[in-house]
Symmetry: C2
Subunit: 354 residues, 2 copies
Amino acid sequence: MPTLRDVALRAGVSKAAASYVLSGRKTPLRIPTETQERIRAAARELGYHPNALARALVTKRTRTVALVRQHAEHLGVWQGFNDELIRSATQACLRADLDLMLRTRQASEPEAEAASLADGRCDGALVFRHLGDPLPDLLLQRNFPFVQLFSRHPNPNVPWVACDNTAGGRRATEYLLELGHRQILHLSAGSAHSSAVIERAAGYREAMSSRGLEPAIIPSGWEWASDEEWAPVVQALKSTDRPTAVFAWYDGLALRVLRTARALGLRVPEDLSIIGFDSSVMCAQVDPPLTSVRQPVDEIVGTAVERLVAQINGEPLGDLHRVIPPALDVRGSCGPRSQAEPVGQSPARNHGGE
Amino acid sequence: MPTLRDVALRAGVSKAAASYVLSGRKTPLRIPTETQERIRAAARELGYHPNALARALVTKRTRTVALVRQHAEHLGVWQGFNDELIRSATQACLRADLDLMLRTRQASEPEAEAASLADGRCDGALVFRHLGDPLPDLLLQRNFPFVQLFSRHPNPNVPWVACDNTAGGRRATEYLLELGHRQILHLSAGSAHSSAVIERAAGYREAMSSRGLEPAIIPSGWEWASDEEWAPVVQALKSTDRPTAVFAWYDGLALRVLRTARALGLRVPEDLSIIGFDSSVMCAQVDPPLTSVRQPVDEIVGTAVERLVAQINGEPLGDLHRVIPPALDVRGSCGPRSQAEPVGQSPARNHGGE
DNA sequence: CTGAAAGCGCTAACAG
DNA sequence: CTGTTAGCGCTTTCAG
């Protein structure tokens, strides 16, 4: 690989001169156009390309940011969502002229991980971690630029960009309420690993309570849960006073409810309405297409990258936290509460619910 | 950020000594355990972490590999597949103690892209590009370590790891033939952007020809195609001598066929059998679950990473090309040819196909 | 067994 | 306006 020295030698100038014209910054000194051309020609002939390591070592800039996810997520959880996250991050980085690094090497301890993030290879990080993960605080301590994605953080100094999940949960529930449903089951996560889980449930609770309805939450159930773990859901759907609608905290779960409903002989949306969250690509692929609350991933990630760049450039962020409103993508999995069971009392088939 | 000099100073030793014990390599010189401990303590107290840039500048190793995809794929094409690729690459890299870099910054020309890949930040690359992309040849010229994924390459010096797509296409077709189907439509890609497309079609042709059947291929149709572009498929399914089975070159297409079939009032698999390729996560989510040929992504990517590492370490690769056999994941979208139309002649409804 | 010194390839002061 | 010089933080050879 030819180095800057080779180019300088060939062009008959100093390394400094070559560096100036090749790195193409607002040159503080003027070099004759003729000389510039000579240098550029030499570089071209040699197939010269600057060594990014050497350059970064002195400039302290790599034009690379890291995307740090939960290690456990390597397992394939949140399938569609991860895909969208990467796609979105890729595009945002493309716009910002940044490369994206996926941190895969396992660190022994959180401290080591934080330290290694700040090892010079990346200018900053997009952090997508579980609630309670020590990384954000450690990064803050080290003064390393980062923005947390999709989740709030208890420490007010942690910058984050997230969807208004409470509003989303409320919206989903209200949509179901407007359709006449009263027995609405919410499927939440067993261990609340993100503020999203908690907030979506909170939104659900709010909407139910404001109508004087009793919230019903099954806090278990992963999409890939064993049949045993999924049993409470099956049981709920089988019971005589079963819910007429289900709001799942994310699409993967909603999809599983769809399959379970079908297996139980329940028609969707006639017998059971289902609404998910994230509005991932799969929603449009299934039958009926899944109605879902959309987290504007592109906007969230795009905003996060913008703010990360600002932070890297030392610009003040002003407000550290950014809340993006969710939207509702109505598809085909929700319908009015069954005609056979009109809103209110249904003398014929009232199983005592309400 | 504390540097090695700080650690050395604090421990009262030279930078060299500190470097030796902290980089923990098979030390060519022995340092007293007591001194070692002192150095380690100093490092710990200072929260020292080596600067990866400076280290890489001299060692010429970054323990990072790049994943280079087609730029157009930022659009969301091959949705499920991309997801699996990243997940798989992440895991393979984790095993090999490597970080994964997604090259997102757009290069003006192929030469510039090749040059920038070799800018020192990555030790090698996993290349997933369209057929005819100039990158592999350029990388070869530069002697930069890489392995191409999922596709063969006309240049025999390009190392690649791919699925036996011809066998996969044959397998899918034969499975349908065994179920009694004779009018089998193959959905291929308009512009063959990977050897996979071509080979899957070739496998289909082989299987059909060996039974003396006429291949029927619609070479258009992307999943996200406009309705106009999709029209030939709709037309084929509507025609009186419509195919009784469809083999789509990848799952996204198969899923769209499923939706189209449903819209046309065709039952799957009773009226129409559908088989896809890739066996992506979505296959299990739809109803009926999609039968699909599985490309063993983990094995392909895992092998590629292994071989990339070998190449980086300067070990000879032996055979440059690796073919991984596909598997068939039977789910619920294929059934025997309709009872109303028994294999062979169907006096009642013979539309002259065969 | 240890420590000084050279240098990886580049940028950015600073004299000429 | 140029070219020389001094590092960035680390590894590694080579005298002590």
